[in-house]
């Protein structure tokens, strides 16, 4: 135990001081976390890249839907506009036609009265001409009300005036016909009626001309709008096509890249594993050869060979274990049974587990544990495996300083934040470049710098640690600065009241009563 400088509370005063220290540390930790929100963004990014095909498809679908809606709306608008114009133009033409017909009818029926001497028939014709002239008056009134612009308004007034003038003559002609003075009626009509009606006819033609101009203006604007909408549609369709093409390209490319990356990683993994396995195998084989060939003569040498064999076979076993464990955690849905664990027990297990390793590497392990920590929820074997990997990494990449800090603390539950227990391993080694930090939890990933420094490994340790943490409902985060060191933090859930009722070993009972 002399390799560990355990800061365990020995007196209440010391505990107090230390607690302040730990509070500071915790604050510092929080600050650092908030100043460096990358892990969360990175997690999100990696998730996005994992699902990028689905995301892209979703985006494209949304885009196409929106564009489709736009196109349909545009078409409907153009259609409505065309229908409205058609309707109004048909209506307008019909109204003008009726006006012209009724004006003619007024004159015609007046003159029909000339064809008979029967006063009864003449009176009927008089009725008809008056009906027709009433319709004309209504039509003129309607035209005046709907007149757009001063030109049409003036025309409506003129038409009204001319029509009234004609009606004056018409009444005289009609009276003459009814009185029986046919020749007088004909004279009156020729002198006054014909020119007056001619003026009305010209006015009506003018109405028609103006309407035609108006309609052709509207038609031009409709044609313009339809041209606009069709060009818009073409634009939109080409945009959709481009978008879809880009999306398909991006999906294929990302899939291809992903596959290539995976293939590369697997190649590297195979190379690395075979290297890791071959080295101890070569040592074991030569040791075994030496013993078999009888080269080992005395007991001391035999014991040395035995130690070599033991060490090499153990390291091989560990490697195989890691690979198997990683394969077994491939199924992420699998959850390990969780139980409340006192943090001290976790620390102790980890210490005893890594004692030899740390000692052999010539490192010093400092420990800071906040007193009165709540129980963490997890699986002891999993946590130990996870922390052992982290400690192993710290030893591997810990640099010349040869010091590792193991720290345990907690955030109390507050508001919506459920609280957590966190255990971190800090080294002062080579650190991790920010461009690599995204990938360090990817399976088989190994930094090029590590390759260059010939540090052995499979690239499975961190991926495994992260999977274990997540399978326990926790998480693993990292804070690192190049050449300054790295801190890996395992976040665990706090055991709630229900979980605590589970029976635990004696050592924890007293702890529980304390918390």
């Amino acid at each position: 135990m002399n390799y560990f400088r355990t800061i365990r509370a020995t007196s209440s005063a010391c505990r107090f001081n230390w607690r302040i220290d730990v509070k500071k540390q915790t604050k510092f930790e929080i600050k650092r976390r908030s100043r460096y929100p990358m892990p969360r963004v990175d997690r999100w990014l990696s998730a996005a890249s994992r699902h990028n095909a689905v995301l892209l498809l979703f985006v494209v679908c949304c885009g196409v839907t929106v564009i489709g809606a736009l196109v349909i709306r545009d078409m409907q608008q153009a259609n409505t506009e065309a229908q409205k114009m058609y309707k109004s133009s048909v209506n307008g033409l019909q109204e003008i036609g009726e006006l012209q017909y009724d004006a003619q009818e007024t004159r015609r029926t007046t003159l029909y009265a000339l064809t008979t001497t029967d006063s009864n028939l003449q009176v009927e014709y008089a009725d008809q001409t008056r009906d027709a002239d009433r319709r004309v008056r209504n039509g003129i009134g309607e035209y005046g009300r709907q007149a757009k612009g001063p030109e049409e308004l003036a025309l409506a007034e003129r038409l009204n005036r001319d029509w009234t003038a004609y009606l004056g003559v018409r009444d005289e002609v009609l009276a003459s016909i009814l009185e029986g003075s046919t020749s007088e009626a004909v004279n009156l009509d020729l002198k006054g009626g014909v020119p007056a009606f001619e003026r009305v006819r010209q006015d009506l033609n003018e109405v028609k001309r103006l309407y035609g101009e108006d309609a052709s203006r509207e038609q031009a604007s409709l044609a313009e709008s339809s041209r606009r909408s069709s060009s818009r549609m073409v634009g939109i369709l080409s945009f959709t096509f481009l978008l879809s093409t880009a999306a398909v390209w991006a999906i294929q490319r990302s899939q291809m890249l992903g596959r290539m990356q995976l293939a590369n990683l697997q190649m590297e993994f195979v190379a690395s594993v075979s290297h890791e396995l071959r080295t101890p195998l070569a040592v074991i084989r030569s040791a075994a050869d030496n013993i078999a060939d009888g080269l080992v003569k005395n007991m001391d040498a035999l014991l040395r060979y035995g130690a070599i064999l033991q060490h090499q076979s153990r390291s091989m076993g560990e490697l195989v274990d890691q690979i198997l464990l990683f394969a077994s955690t491939e199924d992420r849905k699998k959850r390990v049974p969780l139980q409340p664990l006192p943090v001290e027990q976790i620390i102790e297990t980890v210490l005893s587990d890594t004692e030899v390793l740390v000692r052999d590497s010539g490192f010093t392990l400092d420990i800071e544990v906040e007193p009165g920590l709540p129980h963490a929820l997890g699986d002891l074997a999993g946590i130990t495996q996870c922390l052992r990997n982290l400690v192993g990494n710290a030893l591997k990449y810990g640099g010349a300083d040869r010091r590792i800090l193991l720290k345990a603390g907690a955030f109390v539950p507050r508001d919506k934040f459920p609280g957590e227990v966190h255990i971190s391993i800090t080294d002062r080694g080579i650190g991790i470049d920010s461009s690599e930090i995204v990938h360090i939890f990817d399976p088989f990933y190994r930094s090029p710098r590590v390759h260059a420094s010939q540090i052995h490994g499979t690239g499975l340790g961190l991926a495994l640690a992260k999977r274990i943490a997540e399978s326990m409902g926790g998480s693993l985060t990292v804070f690192s600065q190049l050449s300054a060191g790295s801190t890996f933090t395992l976040h665990l859930q706090i055991a709630q009241g229900d979980d605590l009722q589970m029976p635990a070993s004696e050592g924890r009972q007293s702890r529980m009563s304390l918390t």
């Binding site: 006063s119 009864n120 003449q122 009176v123 008089a126 009725d127 009444d171 009609l174 009276a175 009814l178 009185e179 029986g180 003075s181």
Partner: protein, 136 residues
């Protein structure tokens, strides 16, 4: 009752003037418009009333009077014959110089009622009573 066109300035006629008008001997209004006489067909109650009370003639005498008058040039036009009271009213409405006889129920404001000897049909002593109703 006796009705004229609304544009006719005449509001009142003496029984005598009316008689001359209906016999065709007076051919123009004071404003110079030609008088057009409107009557129902022979046998209709309105016509009978006019012939009996105003002209003091029967159908044949009335016809003869007009044939004679037209022949001599004393009368310019023969009366217009219409088949219905509505026709009479419409004729009077359409012709500024027209004058006709209608029952009270057939009159509306498209034509103008003329006083006879300062009397309206509702007044006592109005000389053109529809005696047909009594006869019926």
């Amino acid at each position: 009752m006796i009705v004229v066109n609304r544009s006719n300035p005449i509001n009142e006629l003496s029984f005598d003037e009316l008689r001359r008008i209906f016999l065709g001997t007076r051919s123009h209004w004071p404003n110079g418009r030609r008088i057009t006489l409107v009557m129902r067909e022979p046998g209709e109650p309105e016509r009978r009333t006019v012939l009996r009370d105003l002209c003091g003639m029967n159908e044949d005498q009335f016809k003869n009077h007009f044939v004679h008058g037209l022949y001599t040039g004393e009368i310019l036009v023969s009366p217009k014959i219409l088949a219905s009271p509505v026709g009479v009213r419409k004729f009077v409405f359409n012709v500024p110089g027209a004058i006709g006889y209608l029952r009270v129920g057939d009159v509306d404001d498209s034509v103008k009622v003329v006083r006879i000897d300062e009397l309206l049909p509702d007044d006592k002593g109005y000389k053109l009573r529809m005696q047909v109703q009594l006869a019926n």
